[in-house]
């Protein structure tokens, strides 16, 4: 049974991720895991051809020409849950907002579909439901009940599987303790075969993610924009994405 906790006893955290690009092979397992966990329907071929694939995490490919060849890099790109999130600044209706523990949330029931946040996001990680998502009936019945099914006209994006955080918080509350780092992991991190993704509390100096952040190999994507993304990439090679 829960003990009464005063506000100061609850630890605030900043959930974040380290992506080790030396380990990431671009296999796409994270993408599949995300689709299953977060009920992301497949686009129709016609929509896909127009570039309207719904995807909260993708494997991006960067090609830097070096004469006749290019140095290619592959990296997973997802919502960076910026500390200073440009998308939350411009939302006219508080549908995307800076929530607990540093997560940038997206509330579909509120969204009016103006797509301003998509235009404002320098990382191009938000996706829009251009049409009513088509679900094969059998698969729709087997979607994850913890995540809502979206509908046409709203913007969506990676939530760091915040429903898992909610579960972890509930469990912790029932046991009268704080959420531990191991209680909560997004689906992509859980599934990565190369263990390229590390998830944890960036404010906790001992967590894997925070350690990775301090690594000399570490850097943030578009650091210069000052968005303070919660995802840090690690790359020992000179080429960076």
């Amino acid at each position: 049974m829960a003990k009464e906790l005063s506000g100061s006893e609850l630890k605030t955290r900043r959930w974040g991720m380290a992506v080790d690009l030396d380990r990431c092979t671009g296999c796409g397992a994270c993408v599949a895991a995300c689709k299953v966990e977060n009920n992301i329907p497949e686009s129709s071929p016609e929509e896909a051809q127009m570039g309207r694939v719904l995807r909260w995490i993708r494997v991006a490919r960067r090609e830097e020409p070096e004469g006749d060849r290019a140095s290619v890099s592959l990296y997973p790109a997802l919502c960076y849950h910026c500390g200073n999130a440009p998308c939350t600044l411009v939302c006219p209706v508080h549908a995307t907002y800076k929530g607990i523990d540093g997560l940038v949330g997206q509330i579909y029931a509120r969204c009016i579909g103006c797509r301003y946040c998509m235009a404002a996001c320098p990382y191009t990680v938000k996706v829009f439901n251009w049409s009513e998502p088509r679900w094969q009936p059998e698969l729709r019945a087997h979607t994850n009940p913890e995540v809502s099914l979206r509908y046409r006209g709203v913007v969506e994006k990676c939530t760091f599987c915040s429903h898992r955080l909610q579960r972890a918080r509930d469990d912790a509350a029932v046991e009268g303790r704080d959420v531990r780092e191991e209680d909560y992991q997004p689906a992509c991190v859980e599934v990565c075969p190369a263990k390229a993704l590390t998830f944890g509390d960036l404010d906790d100096d001992h967590s894997g993610a925070a350690t990775a952040r301090r690594s000399p190999r570490g850097y943030q994507l578009l650091e210069e924009l000052g968005t303070d993304p919660a995802i840090v990439y690690l790359n020992r090679r000179e080429r960076r994405v």
Partner: protein, 746 residues
């Protein structure tokens, strides 16, 4: 207020219309809303449970946990205690639910009066009856050699059952369709992780990894192991600075991860390798003894001076438009991080090109001697090996890797075809092998073809009877050991849910046939029912390996007394792995494996030269990607969407070409192009990238299904239409190596 009669009536009718429209509209809208809420309605309290099964998309056999909320399956997760996957799942493995609920799955057997004719759904017994009659006829006339069975499934107790059933018929042939060949297996063994995330082969001492077109992260096999091993290698502090060199035509994910990419046009790997070897061997104490080795393969080597000149780093670099510095860096890396490991890729071996093959083996032998001496290569022990006999399935036949070519080669020469009945079990020969039209033609000349498949695919369209099969998540089996696992593990594949399609397992069909008398002497499986057979097998294993029982969770050794409880839990509860009693007992196999790599005893053939390419022609190199798996997973919409992700494509195939080739043809990214080979023409989208070398067209293998469900059919193009149907004689793997093609803008 004064209201005139007219106005009152108007208002009244207006209100009436509004109200009735509303009353008409509202229930419909509420029904609509409720339908959307029905989701919530279906669910109970929200209790989560897991049931276990095994993914058999690849030989890795990752353990799965199907997550169910109120008994409704909602997703798959890996289980952290599987020795090879450690909780990870690959991209294809996670899409299994979509295969499960695919509306295009076959539910009843299909019968065709003639191969290629319209199919007609028949009752189960009727479909099997046809097969029964055919087999019985051949059996009674003693023409067992006219029966052949191609099995495309990964090894398991089920494949053993099928194998021993076939082998019990005198003369009948059982052919496992292992697209993976000996070298792939070696790669996997070599890199394959062991329990607890430790590498089974200590790559920390391997120094440089030289990959010659060996796309360890991409081609066939077990993505999870490959990815994870790669990750482990990177994590290893000793290894994190050991360079990986990739020699090949395309910047595949493997090449992306390698520290050096030496772009190399198809067919010229040998030059670069020879240059590297020449530079290295200058300092090698055994140079004199090495040279005769060269001499066996290269006539040039007889003239050491000419050889040295011809294969000096400078001249090779010039001929291949490379920087000498790059090659020198490679040599430095190889020398510094000695001993280096060379892994020749399937692309090299599959080509009828013994030369590079041989050299790759030579280089491997040269630089991995250290490991060989220490017995570094050893095989895990597969508990199923001894089991089959005790289960009454007879001794396991020696898997003859060449048998696929033995059977298919005559197929191509129709007149000599000895096969009357061909049974393809989850083996889509027509789609997965190069030279589709040749294979299709060969199949059409076989009097009776039966196929077992979840979908109506290209092969079943050419077969007389198609029998539906179950998906792994809804059937019983004992999959074979995880690849590369030192202590071969055993896990029970159980139905994670009630079968979605009312069907029968392949094994049940086989057992049914056998009990009706369609089997050779000596085939006497104890049970008539497949589920009972599996249970009996588990019972046996537990009995024999009581002391070795390891709990799946805690990896604790169980007390012998609890063995029966363990059995129960195996069948009804959670998976258990059995540790092998004698690890490394099959050392001789490792010798054989290394021998295969060395490639001795194979006649060298001329490599395709660049001069073989007519002006304007390009090399087509087909490649594998884990999200396509040669088309086996493309019936799942998710895979259709993820496969082309990095290029921004979905539901489509593509070819990668270099700007140098694209410019004169006025091709830009996204254009539709035609690729005309000597035997066929395909049309797909072009991606112009500097990630391939010039004069190369790289195409993913697996798209372009003509059947296989509505999701897969008609999407993209299959590059395997272009190469000839050639199999690598030694490995039995199809050779889909470079094909000279013309590229045109469509």
């Amino acid at each position: 207020m004064n209201i005139s009669r007219r106005r009152f009536l108007r208002l009244l009718s207006g209100a009436g219309v509004t109200i009735s429209a509303h009353d008409w509209l509202f229930p419909r809208l509420e029904a609509y809303a409720n339908e959307r809420l029905a989701y919530g309605d279906l669910r109970g309290p929200g209790f989560t449970s897991f049931s276990r099964s095994v993914c058999r998309d690849c030989p890795n056999h990752c353990s799965l946990a199907m997550r169910k909320v109120d008994e409704l399956p909602v997703g798959l997760r890996g289980t952290p205690w599987h020795p090879a996957s450690l909780g990870a799942l690959c991209v294809a493995g996670q899409s299994q639910m979509q295969a499960l609920f695919d509306p295009d799955r076959l539910e009843r057997p299909l019968q065709r009066p003639d191969a290629g004719a319209a199919a007609q759904a028949v009752e189960w017994d009727e479909g099997i009856q046809v097969l029964d009659e055919r087999l019985r006829g051949l059996l009674s006339s003693g023409e067992g050699e006219k029966i052949a069975v191609v099995d495309g499934r990964t090894p398991s107790l089920g494949t053993r059952l099928l194998e021993s059933w076939v082998r019990s018929i005198p003369g009948a042939r059982y052919i496992p369709l292992r697209i993976e060949h000996a070298l792939d297996r070696l790669v996997r063994q070599f890199l394959g992780g062991g329990a607890g995330g430790r590498l089974r082969f200590d790559l920390a001492r391997a120094g440089t990894l030289l990959l010659v077109g060996s796309e360890i992260l991409e081609h066939d096999g077990s993505p999870v192991t490959q990815m994870r091993t790669h990750g482990d290698r990177r994590e290893n502090p000793l290894l994190s600075h050991a360079p990986t060199l990739y020699l090949g035509a395309r910047q595949s994910p493997t090449a992306v991860q390698a520290d050096y990419w030496i772009p190399c046009q198809p067919g010229r790997e040998h030059e670069i390798l020879l240059a590297l070897a020449e530079a290295l061997s200058k300092e090698h104490p055994q140079r004199d003894s090495i040279l005769p080795e060269y001499a066996r393969w290269i006539s040039d080597a007889l003239d050491p001076v000419g050889f040295a000149r011809r294969y000096s780093l400078e001249s090779v670099a010039r001929r291949n438009r490379l920087d000498v510095e790059e090659l020198e860096a490679a040599v430095r890396a190889l020398r510094r991080f000695h001993p280096a490991v060379t892994l020749p890729g399937p692309g090299i071996l599959r080509r009828p090109n013994g030369f590079s093959d041989a050299f790759a083996g030579l280089a491997l032998n040269l630089w991995t001697d250290g490991f060989r001496e220490e017995g570094g290569l050893s095989w895990g022990r597969d508990p199923l090996t001894d089991l089959t006999q005790e289960l009454g399935l007879g001794p396991p036949g020696e898997a003859d890797p060449a048998s696929l070519s033995n059977i298919l080669d005559p197929l191509f020469e129709i007149q000599r075809s000895p096969v009357d009945v061909l049974i393809c079990v989850e083996a889509n020969l027509v789609h997965e092998l190069p030279g589709q039209d040749q294979i299709a033609r060969a199949l059409s000349h076989i009097p009776f073809v039966a196929s077992f498949s979840t979908h109506e695919d290209e092969t079943s369209r050419l077969s007389h009877v198609t029998v539906p099969t179950l998906i792994d998540l809804e059937s019983w089996d004992l999959p074979s050991a995880a690849w590369g696992s030192p202590e071969a593990s055993l896990q029970v594949q159980r139905p994670a849910l009630v079968p979605v399609v009312e069907g029968r397992a392949v094994e049940d069909v086989v057992l049914g046939l056998a009990s009706a008398g369609v089997a050779g002497p000596g085939f006497s499986p104890g049970a008539e029912n497949w589920k009972d057979t599996v249970k009996a097998a588990v019972e046996l294993i537990v009995e024999r390996r009581e002391g070795d029982l390891v709990d799946a969770d805690g990896r604790r050794t169980l007390e012998s007394a609890s063995a029966s409880a363990a059995v129960r839990s195996l069948v009804s509860g959670r998976s258990v792995w059995v540790a092998p009693s004698e690890p490394g007992a099959r050392a001789e196999e490792s010798e054989a494996g290394a021998e295969a790599v060395g490639g001795r005893g194979v006649r060298p053939e001329r490599p395709p030269r660049l001069t073989d390419l007519a002006p304007n022609q390009l090399w087509l190199i087909p490649f594998d990607t884990p999200a396509v798996q040669r088309g086996r997973v493309l019936n799942r919409p998710m895979m259709m969407e993820i496969s082309g992700m990095t290029h921004g494509l979905a539901w489509e195939s593509w070819v990668e070409i270099h700007p140098v080739d694209a410019r004169p043809r006025r091709i830009v990214t996204g254009d539709r192009v035609k690729i005309r080979g000597p035997r066929a023409e395909i049309s797909t989208r072009a991606i112009v990238t500097r990630g391939v070398t010039p004069s190369v067209v790289a195409a993913p293998v697996g798209f372009g299904h003509e059947a296989f469900g509505s999701v897969a059919a008609g999407r993209g193009a299959n590059p395997l239409k272009l190469p000839f149907a050639v199999l690598d004689k030694r490995t039995g793997a199809p050779a889909w190596g470079p094909v000279p093609v013309f590229l045109l803008k469509a």
